[in-house]
Symmetry: C2
Subunit: 227 residues, 2 copies
DNA sequence: AGACGTTTGTGAACCCATGCACAAAGTTGA
DNA sequence: TCAACTTTGTGCATGGGTTCACAAACGTCT
């Protein structure tokens, strides 16, 4: 009777960030032949509180059955729909160094919905190499390519100094969703969505906590000062 | 007169997550010969509000000068200290497929403080290959290696099904900081710190927002229901 | 020396996210 | 059919994080 809440209500960012994890776990359960899960069980698998899981799911609609739990198949489908994975998302990768190669051949990349349609690099040494059936082309051909076969998401896998120029090229071609692996802050017009994945940032955060642990563990060299 | 606040106070997680970005930007400014920045300028570079930057920095101590700003060199050093980057962090990578290779040769990896001391993979085809001067060894040698030349951080770059076993091996050897690139939730004893980086999660979040944008942009097919 | 302009550091208000606890709703079994 | 049990969906309280706004502190200029 009521419209799909995923299209009408606002889904909090924190929830959206967890939906892929729920979906992945549900897919695994489905493969294992599990038909139904309770919020308690699923939450335990994913590593969150059951109340949080239920509240997250409530933002997409009411797909559970009280006293029973959630149908695995149905819930997976509804999360896929909410995330937009029932559509097809053509992806282009710019920068085919080590990281670009790894991304292009990463199997998890090709999972539902995502499809690599373009690989770009200006290095002539890479020209016309093919990865997963897609040729590597110079970046200048991006706009032309995009006009023929539209790209929804651009992935930047270049060194940091080139990232802003590549980003400008992507935005200029009309791409408004960008995943940036370069350690650089990109400035983009409003309406363009950038997410950054940064290895060294993650390492530094780990280092911070490791340092905290080692200091807490009775390393009294640091107790330099007193009141 | 007072002790280093970084060692006495608690630094919020949200702040810690931003410190690497501040540090990177400060390093770039230092290279460009900039001696001093205001919170307003630095915040603009990083893409945060100046009040947030000041509050973040206030957690490490009081290193600014009112009416002037922050000394670039000093602030970079203090952030490095807070993050623990004045120490040396030996890193091991497990899983030398495409991603492992890319990580090992990633230049940003070797930046201050981090040093690759071990590469592991059980595939005999990779045995004794060397990357950046480090040999690839079978995972069974991890514990022995760790005893001789301690490893602070373990990086998991294997396929998802192998991730938990690798994680158990790392934890068993005594490593308590883990960076996980496999799309799997790892269960670890308390005291072990795991951070996950997942490409397909990031893509799915982008897809969600892209879908939202296209729905909002006058795509009225979806306006199915009305009161 | 003193007034003025600038910028930091932080108290206070707001906002979002998490976790608790329970009523509502469904199933199962007698 | 009805009672007992299970599990969802959610109102409410709690806690962190972000932003505002301003007093305190510093340099500069006269």
């Amino acid at each position: 009777m009521s419209a799909d809440p995923a299209l009408r209500r606002e889904i909090p960012d924190a929830t959206v960030a967890r939906l892929p994890e729920y979906l992945r776990t549900l897919s695994r359960l489905a493969e294992d032949g599990v038909l139904s899960v309770s919020s308690e069980e699923l939450a335990a698998e994913v590593g969150v509180r059951s109340a949080q899981l239920r509240k997250d799911l409530s933002h997409l609609g009411s797909y559970g059955v009280r006293g029973v739990g959630y149908d695995v198949e149905t819930l997976a489908l509804e999360i896929s729909r909410a995330l937009g994975l029932t559509e097809d998302w053509p992806v282009a990768i710019v920068g085919m160094g080590n990281l670009g190669h790894a991304l292009a051949s990463y199997s998890g990349f090709v999972t539902k919905g995502f499809r690599i349609v373009g690989l770009y690099d200006d290095d002539p040494a890479l020209a016309d190499e093919r990865i997963v059936g897609v040729a590597i082309r110079p970046l200048a051909e991006l706009t032309e390519h995009h006009a023929v076969d539209p790209i929804a998401i651009g992935v930047i896998a270049t060194p940091a100094p080139a990232a802003q120029a590549v980003c400008d090229a992507l935005v200029g071609a009309g791409i408004s969703s960008i995943l940036n692996f370069a350690p650089a802050v990109l400035s983009v017009p409003s309406g363009v969505d950038v997410r950054r994945v940064d290895l060294s940032t993650e390492l530094q955060i780990l280092a911070f906590h490791a340092q905290r642990k080692s200091l807490a563990a009775g390393d009294l060299r640091s107790a330099v000062a007193a009141p």
